[in-house]
Amino acid sequence: MRHSRLTLWLLGGFTLLVYAYKILPVFVVVALAFNPPEFGSFPIVGFTTRWFGGLLDNPAVVTAVKTSLRLAVATAAIATVLGVAAAYALVRYPFRGRAAVQLLLTMPILVPHLIVGVGLLLAFRILGLSRSFTLMLLGHVALTMPFVILTTQHRLQAIPLYLEEASRTLGANGWQTFREVTLPLAAPAIVTGFVFAFMSSFDEVTATLFWRPANFDTVPIYVLSELQNSVSQELNALAAALVGFSVGVPVLTMLLLHLWTSRRRRPARAPEATPAWQPATEGDAR
């Protein structure tokens, strides 16, 4: 189908508008965070980083950042170990009820976080347990494990079974085969899953509100509760930092992964010219 020039311009313009609508508010926050006046408002009259410096002097912010990092790292670590194990079992073993397990484990990304939040809290209440860091951790693991499972599963399906069989015939047992063959080949996907889990734990608000013990703030929850007072410049700075972190970590990870995997594909050293004595059929070394 041919599009007229006008159609293309309209389509392009509309697309730009949609993106602007979605992303401009973020830029507004970031722009205001560097504006010198006490109260975050337009016009932009200068450039300062002092609101960012102020964050480090605020013990509540520092505590919230520490809490968030601790929670996100622990969540991602546990979700990755469990998620990789689950993905391996789901891909390699045709056990009874596999489809049900698959659905159950990946359900949390389909169900609204509100439901998961209330549900887990109620379950804890029934067990006579109160809100705690452990509850938050368990909840975040359940919410983020699907990311690890789905990315890892996808990659594992692409690793041919005969590679693992070859490893076993050569004398590696099941665990050694997993460590030496499967894990290195799946590593980029596992790292991606880890970062996904880390970021979604770090940014999670809705369910966390139900699970956190009193006065226990993660960064996004601190921002949310401060917003109820006023929009301070410090808050804009914190939000801007949060934006930078949330965009920066995945982008950096992708870049590093790209470098890593492309170096693995590149020749360790330039292939030598095929020696003349070799049969001609061998000359097509790729």
């Binding site: 070859a166 050569l170 004398g171 693995r264």
Partner: protein
């Protein structure tokens, strides 16, 4: 009895649900022997190989290696070298690391690993590719490295699962000769699975023809080609004509059989005079000759398939069409050419 056989399959079966992939198979392989399991896909040859490796468990029966029952020995403890159809090299490891993989788990000291890997690379004639990744090797080189990886561990048993079928024709012939040479020089007991009768004939000391999970015939390549025990096995090794005939006299292991058009031939076998027979003849044993007026089967060419070294003719004769494969030394006969068919009684096989 002397030394125990290298491998014995004793009444081995493998069922998948109600389907028997391998059905009550007995097989004995001598030390240093090169055996080809030959059959079309689904005949059970690969399942048999995988059971020898330990990658599949038999549903019943015993697998015995050097006198020891290995049914319950896990794959990694069996000391088998296996070469897969798609080389199965570890893509994240260099050629050197791939070959060294099995030695690492045999607790071979590092300097000796280096020495043995270098030696294996020489055996497969690729001493210069040690530092390359599999993706930097050609198809033939990849399969050679896979062979090096399998032989470097000095396995009790070397298993090949259609290792040449993913390669193109020229490379396949070259590697076929190469594998045979390596196997003979190392003397490793070898089982080779293939669906290609040429491969089996040219490489194996002994061929086991399989069909429907069962052994149909086993013997040297020459035995199997010359004396197939069934029409099935005969047809596996090429095109076969079937001719009707009637026994006119018999005695002393030879009978006179009358074919059409007054042709009568002595055929090995014993059957009462008057018995109607169906005789089988390989297409390459049926010769087309000029019609000189003597009693002969006559017909005319209806189809020509020029293969370069050979020509395959379809010849209509009576109500039947016969196939004849001739060396392409003379001019190709055009369609419609009248010909006489020449055949020898000793080439005929009773179906």
């Amino acid at each position: 009895m002397s030394a125990p056989a290298a491998v014995e399959m004793r009444r081995v079966s493998r069922h998948y649900g109600s389907v028997a992939a391998v059905d009550d198979l007995d097989l004995t392989i001598a030390e240093g022997e090169f055996v080809a399991l030959l059959g079309s896909s689904g005949c059970g040859k690969t399942t048999t190989l995988r059971m020898m490796a330990g990658l599949e468990q038999p549903s019943s029966g015993d697998i015995v290696v050097k006198g020891r029952r290995v049914n319950d020995v896990p794959v990694h403890a069996r000391n088998v070298g296996m070469v897969f159809q798609n080389h199965a090299l570890f893509p994240h490891r260099t050629a050197f690391e791939n070959i060294a993989f099995g030695l690492k788990y045999r607790k071979v000291p590092k300097p000796e690993i280096a020495r043995r890997v270098a030696r294996a690379l020489e055996v497969v004639r690729l001493p210069h590719v040690a530092d390359r990744l599999p993706s930097q090797l050609s198809g033939g080189q990849q399969q050679r490295i896979a062979v090096a990886r399998a032989i470097v561990i000095e396995p009790d048993l070397l298993l090949f699962d259609e290792p040449l079928s993913a390669l193109d024709a020229g490379l396949r012939d070259e590697l076929r000769v190469e594998l045979k040479r390596i196997q003979k020089s190392l003397g490793i007991t070898t089982v080779f699975v293939t669906h290609d009768q040429q491969e089996a004939l040219s490489m194996a000391d002994r061929i086991v023809v399989m069909h429907g999970g069962r052994k149909r015939q086993e013997g040297t390549p020459e035995d199997i080609y010359r004396a197939p025990n069934s029409e099935f096995v005969m047809r596996f090794f090429g095109r076969v004509n079937s001719l009707p005939g009637t026994v006119t006299s018999a005695g002393g292991g030879t009978m006179q059989v009358a074919l059409a058009e007054g042709v009568s031939l002595p055929v090995p076998g014993d059957a009462a005079p008057g018995t109607k027979l169906s005789l089988l003849l390989r297409a390459e044993r049926l010769r087309l000759v000029p019609d000189d007026g003597t009693p002969a089967l006559r017909g005319h060419v209806t189809g020509v398939d020029y293969l370069g070294m050979m020509v395959r003719y379809d010849v209509a004769c009576g109500g039947e069409t016969f196939q004849a494969i001739q060396p392409a030394e003379d001019a190709v006969l055009p369609i419609g050419t009248p010909v006489a068919l020449s055949l020898r009684g000793e080439d005929l096989v009773l179906s």
